[in-house]
């Protein structure tokens, strides 16, 4: 009966939500932007999961692996496909360097504040903690572009600094995925440096080979739905390969995507199919993130708070101090660092990579820290970004 009541409440809320979301002007700005971040889907996952309605008990969750792998692989492929060598070469190198340094800086800050918690997690018997800390750092390094650009468009904010921010928010995920890929190779329990190099080469070789095989697949004569089936089949296959080789499926598919981006012509039908299914897959991953969320204990809450503060402070500091030196010709309005507050679904995807490779209570606790961080950052992002734009306009 409780489950029925819960379902009815969820349906009623979903209906009211759908009415309001499609009449966005009625909603206050921060709430409206929460919908853009997909916050409600994480909540839905939490509501359906083992801690609330229990519609998805742990036994079912463990069977969701193929869906998670499909989502991870899809996102990796999508990110990789955006990295066409010709397009990257046209970007300002200083901006690219700033993006890379910003990711490393934020990641290191978060890793340092998380280190003391290593003992707590080790008490849970975790031998893969170094990977966990890297994943937490990488997830924190990411900034999502959606809210920034929607607010920028709404407020008519057209300063040159937006180009710089656009590059950072679009490309920092690449560095984060790369860091996770390296962690899976070099920090694997029991693996030495040589093993790490071997695993890294395996990742590149597998990604490259899969790209060539995929390139060989028939495409032109397929209908839209058949193209989708081929993509699903291929992404599942390559993600499974990543899992079997114990490298990150996200990383392996990104490598594959990079190869493909430089092999496929721009008008290839696969591009359309990949983009069409992007949003539904993100939503599924957001719901799964909610399902995998553990009700946090005291230490998880403390760690999450530290991570949120360290992330925001390091982004703010980087944009205030080192960034103007890297791009001296740009005007940096005060509080530009706030523009990078939004963390987005990509951070959850990185967390899920870790959780699916190293399942366990400690991994779920770390993943819950990422979920909390994303949820808090998505709440405060519209305020802080609006604040930055208002200050910049003064």
């Amino acid at each position: 009966m409780v489950a029925l009541l819960g379902l009815i409440i969820i349906l009623a809320l979903a209906y009211l939500g759908s009415i309001y979301v499609f009449a966005k002007e009625k909603l206050p700005t921060p709430i409206r932007y929460l919908f853009y971040s997909g916050w409600e889907f994480i909540l839905l996952g939490i509501a359906l999961g083992p801690f609330a309605l229990q519609l998805f008990p742990p036994a079912i969750l463990s069977n969701l692996d193929p869906v998670i792998h499909l989502g991870l692989g899809w996102v990796g492929l999508l990110i990789g496909l955006q990295l066409k060598a010709g397009d990257i070469a046209k970007l300002n190198r200083r901006y690219l360097l700033a993006t890379c340094l910003q990711s490393i800086f934020t990641g290191l800050a978060v890793a340092i504040v998380s280190m003391p918690f290593i003992y707590w997690f080790q008490s849970m018997g975790a031998s893969h903690l170094p990977i966990g800390i890297t994943v937490l750092a990488a997830a924190s390094a990411i900034s999502a572009p959606t809210i920034l650009f929607l607010l920028g468009r709404e407020k008519g904010f057209r300063k040159e600094i937006m180009t710089f921010l656009k590059i950072i928010t679009n490309l920092d995920a690449v560095f984060a995925i790369f860091a996770v890929g390296l962690a899976f190779c070099f920090l694997r329990p029991g693996a030495g440096f040589q093993d790490g190099v071997k695993f890294l080469l395996q990742s590149f070789a597998a990604g490259g080979m899969l790209a060539f095989i995929f390139h060989f697949a028939p495409r032109k004569e397929l209908s839209e739905n058949e193209t989708l089936v081929v993509l699903f089949g291929f992404v599942l296959f390559s993600s499974g390969v990543g899992g079997l080789l114990q490298v990150s499926p996200l990383f392996l598919n990104m490598i594959c995507g990079i190869f493909l981006a430089n092999l496929l012509p721009r008008n290839d039908p696969f591009y359309g199919a990949i983009i069409n299914i992007e949003k539904p897959l993100y939503v599924v991953l957001l719901i799964i993130s909610g399902l995998m969320f553990n009700i946090p204990g005291g230490l998880t809450l403390i760690l999450a708070s530290l991570v949120i503060v360290a992330r925001l402070a390091s982004k703010y500091y980087f944009i205030s101090v080192p960034a103007p030196r890297l791009a001296p010709y740009l005007e940096f309005p005060p509080r530009t660092g706030f523009a990078l507050t939004s963390q987005g679904a990509m951070a959850l995807v990185i967390g899920l990579t870790f959780l699916s490779a190293y399942p366990g209570n400690d991994s779920r606790a770390l993943f819950s820290v990422i979920v909390l961080s994303v949820m808090v950052n998505e709440i405060i992002a519209p305020y802080l970004i609006s604040h930055f734009m208002r200050k910049a306009a003064e």
Binding site: S18, I213, F237, L244
Partner: protein, 435 residues
């Protein structure tokens, strides 16, 4: 050729991968993900090849699953098939929603009497026909290797019941592939829905009777069984209607993200049915029927169902193919063949007879029976119950039924596709199919 080379390369990769040092073995659940990807590609390419030679695409998907499954290349085990059951539930909901969305009230209203008459005729004639033939064969011990004559009467009862079932999901898949609209498609869909309830009711009564007879004690009364099934049917239809009304409200505000909405709805329906022990197929068919007939957004709803559901369909039918025990077929093919022929004759006779009595057109009379040849989900489910509830002879019967289902599922869809084409009900290429 290119597709074949691609599959060979991927297959070789799957053999080599578990041997890579530092990697996981083929027993790892992650191997299932790889295999799932391979099956999707293999089934799709076989489906296209199947369409090229005039067969429905689902025949290719089924064959793909059979080849890759536990009785073919053994790329995955029976446990893997069970682990992926949630995909089956999702697919079944999507298929049933899609089936309901194909039912047009205006046409159904005109054909209701015919649908009821054909359903009753099929149930009665097939049950009596199959029961009589196999009762005789078991009783005079002509099939001792198949069934101990002491249990002959019970086995014959179950064979009769399961022979009445057909596969609504295969019907929907073929109709979708051809985008078929017309009296043949509508009647087959309508009868499939009605029979779905009747078969479950008949099976429950039969199981109750056999249990009582074997245990020598009073089992659950026929009235109680009938009441419980009517209750389940009523609440499934009611819940489906309510969900349909809710969907209509949603569609009024929801102008985009149809695919996401449809997938969410399918998961919701599947979980809702499981939670309240309702018949998911009936519930989804009713919901789809309500939306398509009582809202202006029915077209958008159907579009959402067509877009993006193909990967789920391919996996569903490939997994169905993998569940068809090829070993059972090789073990019992003569008896299975007899069962298939006996069922087909009864099916043809009852359908053609009832259709003639109800004044159907000659071409419908001639082709209608082919829509009910395929057997899959319901029949497989009932066979599993027999195997688990009646150890020993139930296991033998299970093998025989599964072997017959394998044949019916392979010949059914091509026959139905041929009939739809012969009756001119193909309305252009469907979005699910080839361009």
């Amino acid at each position: 050729m290119r597709q074949l080379i691609l599959l060979v390369i991927l297959y070789l990769a799957m053999i080599v991968l578990p041997a890579v040092p530092g990697g996981l073995s083929a027993e790892s659940p992650l191997f299932t993900t790889t295999v799932l990807g391979f099956i999707l590609l293999a089934s799709l390419f076989l489906g296209r090849a199947s369409a090229d030679i005039g067969f429905p695409m689902i025949t290719g998907y089924l064959v793909g699953g059979m080849i890759c499954g536990p009785w073919g290349l053994k790329l995955f085990s029976v446990e893997d098939v069970h682990r992926l059951e949630f995909i089956n539930h999702l697919a079944l909901s999507l298929i049933a929603l899609s089936g309901g969305a194909e039912l047009e009230w205006s046409m159904l209203k005109k054909r209701m009497k015919n649908i009821m008459a054909i359903s009753v005729a099929q149930m009665a004639v097939i049950f009596i026909g199959v029961f009589s033939v196999f009762y005789l064969l078991f009783h005079i011990a002509l099939m001792e290797s198949v069934m101990d004559s002491r249990y002959g009467v019970y086995a014959a009862i179950f064979l009769g019941v399961i022979a009445t079932a057909n596969s609504p999901s295969s019907v929907v898949a073929v109709i979708n592939e051809l985008n078929a609209r017309g009296p043949l498609a509508q009647t087959v869909l309508g009868v499939s829905v009605v029979k779905d309830v009747m078969v479950i009711a008949l099976f429950a009564l039969a199981a109750s009777f056999v249990n009582t007879a074997l245990a020598g004690t009073a089992g659950i009364s026929a009235g109680a069984v009938f009441g419980s099934i009517m209750e389940e049917t009523f609440f499934s239809l009611l819940a489906g209607a309510l969900i349909g009304i809710m969907v209509i409200f949603f569609l009024n505000t929801l102008k985009k993200e149809q695919l996401l909405f449809t997938l969410g709805l399918a998961v919701f329906c599947s979980e809702f049915s499981a939670l309240f022990h309702l018949n998911a197929l009936l519930l989804c068919i009713m919901a789809g029927f309500m939306v398509t007939n009582f809202s202006a957004g029915g077209g958008r709803f159907r579009e959402g169902l067509e877009r993006g559901s193909m990967p789920v369909f391919v996996i569903f039918f490939a997994l169905t193919g993998a569940s068809l025990h090829l070993d059972a077929f090789f073990e019992m093919w003569p008896a299975a063949l007899l069962l298939v022929v006996c069922r087909a004759v009864c099916l043809w006779g009852s359908t053609a007879g009832a259709a003639a009595l109800m004044g159907e057109e000659p071409k419908i009379r001639k082709h209608l029976w082919t829509g009910f040849t395929a057997q899959a989900g319901v029949s497989l489910g009932l066979a599993v119950i027999i195997e688990s509830d009646f150890p020993g002879w139930g296991g033998r019967l299970f093998t025989l039924i599964i072997a017959a289902i394998a044949i019916n599922q392979l010949i059914g869809p091509p026959l139905f596709k041929y009939s739809l084409l012969a009756c001119g009900e193909k309305k252009g290429s469907a979005k699910n199919g080839k361009n």
